[in-house]
């Protein structure tokens, strides 16, 4: 299943370009099982770890406000060799140094597993929606951007991008046992850097949609009608009919201004 491999390579190139361009980078390594990832974390991870909500007044830092820049994607492959398990790469300022800030935010999760297949796709996408599973971290309920808040309490406990990366890797590995490797990229340098990353992974949304359609189709449901004017063999006839209607309306003077044929 190599549908995302092209994008995984593109993201790798983006990382190299950011490095060679002199962007401030930090790297952490946390390979291992969900239990190992969770061990020693300053905050709780798992269902109901964040039972409340993070109010504006409780917010230490905001990530991915659309005005600051936001981008997120999950890429998966059945060639885990493309991924270095446990690597968390951060370009830009970390959470602890950004009190009261609204940071641009790019997040790419790259996931690998020899047995990963299309049937795991939806589960993996769902794993991105952390909901209440990371203490002090609330991803806002928006369907497009990844826009989140980190609470003051969590920040006081030491919540940073290393924490977030480990928590996300834990959730992905727990949610989809076929996953053997996860790598995380965070970008907080600038809106322009996040926008460039968004451009790189923009094609992923279409692939996601295609996979979703195929998965549902295999279950007997058509999400979409694979048929429109451009694919219809009768388009020419239809166009002729429209022309006849227009001509007829002109002839009878019944065409009102603003009315369409």
């Amino acid at each position: 299943m190599a549908r995302f491999d092209e994008y995984i390579e593109k993201v790798s190139r983006y990382i190299e370009e950011m490095r060679s361009g002199g962007a401030r980078a930090v790297e952490f390594d946390h390979p291992g099982s969900p239990e190992q990832l969770r061990e020693g974390l300053p905050i709780g991870v798992g269902p109901n770890a964040n039972p409340g909500i993070v109010l504006r007044s409780d917010t230490f830092v905001e990530l991915g406000n659309p005005q600051a820049g936001s981008c997120a994607a999950l890429l998966w492959t059945d060639r885990p060799s493309l991924i270095r398990d446990g690597r968390i790469t951060l370009f830009g300022p970390d959470i602890q140094e950004s009190a009261d800030a609204s940071l641009p935010f790019g997040q790419i999760l790259t996931v690998g597993g020899n047995d990963l297949g299309q049937e795991d796709h939806e589960k993996l996408q769902q794993a991105q929606h952390v909901a209440d599973q990371i203490e002090g971290y609330m991803v806002r309920s928006a369907s497009q951007n990844l826009w989140s808040r980190i609470s003051k309490d969590a920040a006081a406990k030491g919540f940073d991008f290393e924490t977030l990366g480990r928590a996300l890797m834990d959730l992905v590995k727990t949610g989809a046992p076929a996953v053997s490797a996860v790598e995380v990229l965070f970008v907080t340098t600038s809106k322009a850097d996040v926008k460039r990353l968004d451009g790189i992974v923009s094609g992923v949304r279409e692939i996601n949609r295609e996979i979703l359609k195929e998965t549902w189709k295999a279950r007997g449901y058509d999400l979409d009608c694979d048929f429109d004017c451009t694919s219809c063999k009768d388009q020419e006839i239809c166009d002729d009919i429209r022309d006849v209607i227009v001509a007829r309306k002109k002839k009878t003077g019944s065409e009102k201004d603003g009315e369409r044929p």
Partner: protein, 438 residues
């Protein structure tokens, strides 16, 4: 009925509604606390909108009839008053003549399988109960039923010479589709300028869209509050009103932003006080519901309070409260129309579900169930939402995967006789019991 007769009759009805809402506003002034002020502000915006239309009819000023998904920010930027063609069904059971109007529509011989929200305005047009505007904006989406209404008004004696424009909605949801629809909105603006004598001032449009963005930002902030357990508000306050304020009256007006600010304040206060949707002593939130449709406005008071009091079941999220919106980029004319196109083609409620591809149903359910800690998804199965009926299987399977109960009822949101409230309550109770909820 000719135009003059319609003018008098529709004005009488419109004034009747206005007076009814004025009475309600007076009553809200007696309500204590911040929530009383919230309702008062909402009714003031609604009343002003009604007053403006009355003034237009009486003094022969330009105004239009359209829909929430016709980019109402454009109307505001053009200083063009408007009313929604399908307004009355959404005015809740507060419109006391709803049932007799539905019966009137039946007596006209309109098929009872046509959505009641469409049957009603057909009845109003044919009976001279809606003011005849300077121009009409039609709606070719989300469903095939909506154009029926336009066919009726095109043949009605009082309405037939009113110019009409309908944006052509593309089937797809990609960038090309949004650009196409943006052009349709541009043509719509040209049409409005031509037929109403109003002009579209781009500076004013920027101002309106920026104000609209402020409202939407606050709406999203407020929605995050609804994720709290217990949810600060139930069916009475929140989503449906937020939709109306942002899209049905004067979109992008500072009074709307002020209302949203008040809404946020009310929600935050409730959370700080640890209070939930009901003020009843000892009440506890037990079931968090996602009502995936419009509220049952025709008989809302016969179901929603019962759900809360009998079962501790709270409507935490519904179709019109959902927030899939993005803010409008006001940096250029192109980005503004692009933003308006996206909002009105892909995001607006019901349009999102019924015009859009079925993935919206499964994706939105997945997201909402997780974010809002939903215990049960209810697809009411409104008789008019045949598009949704086709996706019931997808919704059910999505819910199975999420391990959240899914209930499909089958009812008419406006006509209580279709599945009467007692039957609905019984069905819901049996389901809750069967699922071990509550």
């Amino acid at each position: 009925m000719d135009r003059d007769a319609v003018r008098e009759k529709s004005l009488a009805r419109y004034k009747q509604e206005r007076d009814w809402f004025a009475l309600l506003r007076e009553a809200t002034k007696l309500l204590p606390g911040e929530e009383g002020r919230l309702q008062e502000k909402l009714l003031t915006i609604l009343l002003d909108s009604k007053e403006t239309v009355v003034d237009c009819v009486e003094n022969e000023k330009s105004f239009i009839a359209g829909y929430f998904c016709n980019a109402p920010e454009l109307f505001h930027a053009m200083d063009l008053p408007w009313y929604m063609l399908m307004e009355t069904p959404f005015l809740a059971a507060s419109a006391p003549y709803l049932l007799s109007d539905i019966e009137g529509a039946e007596n006209m011989g309109i098929g009872t399988d046509l959505c009641t929200a469409i049957r009603l305005p057909i009845y109003y047009i044919e009976n001279g109960l809606m003011p005849v505007p300077s121009a009409v904006l039609g709606l070719l989406y989300p469903c095939d039923g909506a154009p029926m209404l336009h066919q009726v008004l095109e043949h009605n004696k009082a309405w037939k010479d009113v110019p009409i424009y309908s944006c052509d909605p593309p089937y797809t949801s990609d960038e090309r589709a949004v650009e196409y629809f943006a052009d349709e909105l541009r043509r719509m603006a040209d049409f409005l300028q031509k037929h109403t004598g109003k002009t579209l001032d781009m500076e004013k449009l920027v101002e309106v869209c920026e104000e609209s963005n402020k409202s939407y930002t606050l709406w999203q902030d407020y929605n995050e509050l609804r994720r709290n357990v217990p949810c600060p508000h139930g069916w009475e306050i929140g989503g449906a009103q937020a939709f109306a304020i942002s899209q049905c009256f004067v979109a992008g007006d500072p009074r709307c932003t002020d209302w949203f600010r008040q809404l946020y304040k009310c929600g935050e206060l409730k959370i700080q006080e640890g209070k939930g949707a009901s003020a009843t002593e000892g009440w506890k939130e037990k079931i968090r519901l996602f009502w995936f449709d419009i509220m049952p406005y025709g008989w809302i008071f016969e179901l929603m309070p019962w759900l809360e009091e009998e079962w501790g079941a709270v409507i935490v999220m519904d179709m019109f409260s959902n927030f899939p919106y993005t803010l409008i980029d006001t940096s250029s004319e192109k980005t503004i129309f692009h933003g308006l196109a996206k909002r009105n083609l892909l995001d607006a409620p019901m349009i999102r579900q019924a015009r859009g591809t079925a993935e919206n149903f499964s994706n939105d359910i997945g997201r909402i169930v997780k974010d809002y800690k939903i215990d049960c998804v209810i697809w009411p199965g409104h008789m008019g939402h045949k598009d949704g009926a086709a996706t019931t299987g997808i919704m059910r399977e999505t819910c199975r995967e999420l391990a959240v109960p899914f209930l499909h009822i089958g009812l008419d949101l406006f006509d209580r006789r279709y599945t009467n409230p007692e039957e609905v309550r019984t069905k819901v109770s049996e389901y809750f019991r069967g699922m071990g909820l509550g």
